[in-house]
């Protein structure tokens, strides 16, 4: 029986659907409530900070002065041009963004803590803030941090020889400058944690809504100077993360510090206001592209200048370089680009720090290159499908201009498949017909590849001080025959408990329900990197496969002995070890004997059925083509998505239902990015998008049916044949939608160069313009 490839219902779901999930707030009952005093201004000097008069007994007021031993958060990059700006847990002197925690109150209830917060005596001398990329880079701009006098915190460039000649040889030169606006990942559950001190053992325990429990432990211990063995970090049920819950935020060390100092139990449950203004933002970028094409429409040179507003501090552990330098490294994407010249800068401003969000910079670079392709197609007189076909990689493995090896993919096939499903010739007729009636229809495509499941070498190349990548899985069969797999990855909604069980079940010939995946607890799992970068199934799944194969070998050895045959004759299936001759023994019987009758098997198997597997792959590129059809309402600029389809190639699909869910959820967030969500700052640095009435994620009414077609290119780059697909949905949608909107607006001679493409922006493009048919 093959479990891989089946639409197995998620074993995670029944308790969640019954309301029996256990999230941080469920665990926090009875703990003292912590609320943070947050900076009301974007930039300023703390003149005085005093506890509320009459702090009731049991309530605590804590400032930086109370925790002199705590260090700041110091993400590091081993690159000379990176400025190692440090973020204090609580600031002593200055505040750097509206919402930055300044002090905290712990009290009986959150209500009381909020009452007390209002009574804190805080005097801040506000200073002129640096708001937005343009202001930060303007000559004479004040420095957000003295360490980075020109507000550039990180800079990278690649200037290959011969670039100028390559560009000079181009027949067509196409330019595209655009703006991507700031987003918040908006997980349904915000951040939050409960920290407690165990008087019996002297240990601390933090349950946190996080993606990387081991990393969080390392980070907190570094800041507070604790031995890691004294802190247990647990990620219970986590209500979405999308990258936002990767980073070490000041609130967590503060909680652990409190629990340790006061030997108690303290909980901070973030509210939506805090999450919107002070968790992590992303994708606030501006790019300028210039591309040269030859007469056949093949790109011969690409030049990119990338700016990313990374906010007031660098995130830990990835550092704020993650956005600008990913854009730098991955811009060429699925295309053959012989000469690529680029500069990327991360820019400090007085705003909420940026951190990875599903796709990181890829939605932005895919928007850039895919809008550029459409512009080039129009300029050269090629069809959008044709120009892409002429530029996509079609021989694998291929080398990218920045040195990546692109493993086997289906770049052209995915494009052709999408084009076929969309029936572009029929659409063009419908579009022409609609235009005659004054209606604006448009079709958009986005082709991209997505670097997933990459291990240590890839991260080491980023010069990060902390290099993630590998995964270790400890697997064991219990005396009653179930398999426990302890993983370092840390799912928070992706269904890994189901998919990893499917992989293990196939290797051991058992039912997936007999496999228990243990995760999210530093006391019970091997050191690992949690969940990010579309890695868990590829890397964790590969480690599961290796560990399970080792366990299978042990089981076969034991069974062979018990069945008195050669090891190679034993096959594991249906929970049995079976010989070619038809003899069999239940695996649970083998397990019982190993543990409880070890005199029979100790020589062959030893005293347990425990094995370990680790996996550290080079990385693999999944690929996809998104296609959509939209209608733009001329009077209002509203966009209606009439059709949305995804042709995705993520190699071997372990569980198509879960894969589809990943794609759909990703596309929904991509639609949000393309059309709806935007964090606004006022010129004084006040965050204006502080409620869900102002920051507007889509509801189900805004998300259309999403058609999904899978291609399965089995790549040699991964052990299971699976590639990552966690982020792809998010990556393709802004490009596909904005290409479709641009196609709809083509008769007006305008296109989209800023997203989200909101109705006011769209109307501003066409206000006062006539369509070609009206001009004629």
């Amino acid at each position: 029986m093959n479990w891989v490839g089946r639409r197995l219902p998620r074993t995670e779901d029944p308790p969640l659907l019954r309301g029996e999930g256990r999230y941080v707030p469920d665990i926090a009952l009875g703990a003292r409530a912590v609320r943070f005093l947050r900076s009301p201004v974007a930039s300023g000097r703390i003149v005085s900070l005093r506890a509320p008069a009459g702090l009731p007994p049991g309530a605590l007021f804590v400032t930086a002065a109370d925790m002199p031993e705590a260090r700041g958060i110091r993400p590091a990059l081993r690159r000379f041009e990176y400025r190692a700006v440090e973020q204090p847990i609580l600031p002593r002197e200055r505040v750097h963004f509206m919402g930055q925690p300044i002090a905290l109150i712990a009290a009986e209830s959150a209500e009381l803590a909020e009452d007390l917060l209002e009574q804190v005596e805080l005097e801040i001398e506000a200073e002129d803030p640096v708001v937005g990329l343009e202001a930060a880079l303007a000559p004479g701009a004040p420095a957000v941090h003295a360490l980075a006098p020109n507000n550039v915190i990180v800079e990278g460039a690649i200037r290959p020889d011969g670039f100028a000649d390559a560009m000079a040889g181009a027949v067509h030169v196409v330019e595209f400058a655009f703006r991507s606006r700031r987003q918040n990942a908006t997980p349904l559950e915000g951040r939050g944690g409960v920290a407690e001190y165990d008087r019996a053992t002297g240990r601390l325990r933090l349950a946190a809504s996080c993606q990387m429990p081991h990393m969080l432990r390392s980070g907190i211990c570094e800041v507070l100077g604790l031995p890691e063995a004294d802190l247990q970090v647990v990620a219970p049920d986590v209500g979405g993360g999308f990258g936002q819950k990767m980073s070490l935020f000041p609130e967590y060390p503060a909680l652990v510090w409190l629990a340790r100092r006061y030997r108690g139990r303290f909980a901070w449950i973030e509210d939506r206001y805090e999450n919107l203004i002070a968790s992590a933002h992303s994708r606030d970028q501006k790019h300028i592209l210039r591309a040269g094409f030859n007469a056949q429409g093949q790109m011969v040179a690409l030049e990119a200048d990338i700016l990313a507003d990374i906010g007031a501090f660098s995130c830990y552990p990835t550092t704020c370089a993650v956005e600008p330098l990913m854009a730098l490294a991955e811009y060429p994407g699925p295309y053959k680009i012989p000469s690529y010249s680029v500069r990327a800068r991360g820019v400090l401003t007085h705003s909420c720090p940026a951190a990875p969000y599903r796709g990181v910079s890829r939605p932005v670079i895919t928007f850039g290159i895919e809008r550029l392709m459409d512009r080039a197609a129009a300029a050269i007189g090629l069809d959008p499908v044709e120009i892409r076909r002429r530029n996509l990689h079609d021989v694998f493995p291929a080398k990218s201009p920045t040195g990546f090896t692109l493993d086997e993919g289906s770049y052209i096939e995915a494009l052709d498949e999408a084009a076929r499903h969309l029936d572009i010739p029929a659409f063009r007729e419908a579009q022409a017909e609609a235009r005659r009636g004054g209606r604006l229809l448009g079709l958009g495509l986005a082709v991209f590849n997505e670097r997933t499941g990459y291990g240590t070498p890839a991260f080491a190349a980023r010069s990060m001080e902390i290099v993630p990548g590998y995964e270790v899985v400890d697997i064991a069969m219990t005396p009653t025959g179930e398999v426990e797999a302890r993983i370092g990855a840390s799912p928070h909604g992706q269904g890994l408990r189901t998919t990893l069980a499917q992989i293990i079940a196939d290797r051991l010939g058992i039912d997936p329900l007999a496999v228990r995946i243990i995760h999210g607890d530093t006391d019970r799992t091997p050191y690992g990197w949690g969940t990010f970068a579309s890695r868990s199934l590829v890397v964790g799944g590969g480690a599961c496969q290796i560990a399970a194969d080792r366990l299978a070998a042990k089981l076969r050895r034991g069974a062979a002995r018990l069945l008195q045959c050669g090891e190679e004759e034993v096959v594991l299936r249906d929970g049995l070890a079976v010989t070619g001759a038809g003899a069999s023994i239940p695996l649970r019987e083998v397990a019982r004997i190993v543990h409880q009758r070890s005199e029979l098997l100790a020589d062959e198997v030893g005293f347990n059925l425990a094995e370990s597997g680790s996996y550290d792959p080079p990385g693999t590129f999944s690929n996809a083509c998104h296609g959509c059809i939209v209608e733009v309402e001329r009077e209002t600029g509203a966009v209606r998505i009439l059709r949305y389809l995804v042709v995705e190639d993520a190699g071997r699909i372990i569980n198509p239902m879960i894969a589809d869910g990943q794609v759909r959820g990703g596309v929904a967030q991509g639609i949000a990015n393309a059309l709806l969500e935007e964090i606004h700052y006022a010129p004084d640095g006040n965050c204006l998008s502080a409620t869900l009435a102002d920051y507007i994620p889509p509801t189900c009414a805004e998300i259309p049916e999403i058609e999904i077609h899978h291609l399965e290119t089995i790549s040699s780059a991964t052990l299971t044949g699976a590639k990552g697909l966690g982020e792809g949905g998010t990556i393709g949608a802004p490009a596909a939608l904005c290409n479709a909107i641009s196609d709809a607006l083509a008769p007006f001679g305008v296109d989209i160069a800023e997203f989200p493409a909101t109705p006011p922006r769209i109307l501003a493009l066409i206000r006062g313009r006539r369509a070609v048919w009206e001009a004629a």
Partner: protein, 286 residues
């Protein structure tokens, strides 16, 4: 996002309720559906010391047409309007409008009168009551009821002609005969959001000509407004696309929209033109 402390009362009758409001004056607030008040309390933008919960008072949920008036009691919920509450153009208009207010769970609790008391600039019921020339009926302790015409009710963002100690007990809307036709259109970013702009119109036709016309606009900031110039352009006209365009242009030209994170004023003006045209088209002016 936790409210400040408050005292809570749940009176069983109206006299008790207004007595409590009289006693607590500026500190007291009516709690109706709670769909606006509770979120603003959570943000501590509202911090009433005393809440007077009117949900247990008998006889406030009425919704009946009498003597040419639809009487809407203080506990008539939005959801009650989803099927026509009265035959003819009025019930149809209200049923059309209500679908744009928030989402079903909110409509189950939020009240018509609560919307008028709250006076959000983008409240559909506020613009509708203004367009139809409704009347608001207020009670206070030991006094007769006081009536206020809709055009005198709205004073600014979240501010109305209500006085401390008063409770809004009923809103009355004129029942419209078959000679009336109405329309409503709004634009919001997502289904159920507060609108960036909306238009409501009511027109009386007599022998093919528009004899009375009222257009109200909402969502522009401040308070809902009557588009008097636009309505005036329609009087004496035969319903036509040209008449609708002229009125829509006038509505756009004379309105004074605000800018916020969702849209600049210029865009709202475009929307007023579009929504006025759509509302008029629904009312048969196309």
């Amino acid at each position: 996002m936790k409210p400040a402390a408050f005292d809570y009362f749940a009176p069983r009758n109206l006299d008790e309720a207004v007595a409590l409001l009289a006693k607590h004056g500026e500190d007291g607030r009516v709690l109706a559906g709670g769909q606006s008040l509770v979120p603003t309390m959570a943000f501590r933008m509202a911090r009433p010391a005393v809440l007077v919960d009117i949900n247990r008072i008998e006889g406030l949920g009425h919704l009946s047409a009498q003597e040419g008036q639809l009487r809407i009691g203080a506990l008539a919920r939005h959801a009650h309007f989803e099927s026509a509450v009265t035959p003819g153009p009025l019930g149809a208009l209200l049923a059309r409008v209500v679908r744009h207010i928030a989402h079903p769970p909110i409509r189950m609790r939020g009240t018509f009168c609560g919307s008028l008391a709250h006076a959000d600039p983008a409240s559909e019921w506020c613009a509708t009551t203004l367009a139809l020339g409704g009347t608001l009926v207020l009670r206070s302790a030991g006094a007769d009821t006081r009536e206020v015409a809709a055009r005198d009710w709205f004073q600014g963002v979240f501010t109305t002609a209500i006085r401390p100690g008063e409770m809004l007990v009923e809103v009355r809307l004129p029942v419209l005969g078959p000679e009336w036709s109405c329309g409503f259109a709004e634009f919001s970013r997502r289904a159920g959001d507060f609108a960036l702009a909306m238009a409501v119109c009511a027109l009386r036709l007599d022998r093919g000509l528009i004899r009375e016309a009222s257009i109200a606009l909402g969502g522009l900031g401040g308070r809902p407004v009557l588009a008097l110039e636009a309505a005036a352009t329609l009087l004496g006209q035969v319903p036509s696309a040209e008449a609708a365009s002229a009125a829509a242009e006038a509505a756009a030209a004379h309105c004074d929209p605000h800018s916020d994170v969702h849209a600049p004023a210029e865009y709202r003006r475009d929307l007023v033109r579009a929504m006025a045209r759509r509302a008029l088209a629904q009312a048969g002016v196309a």
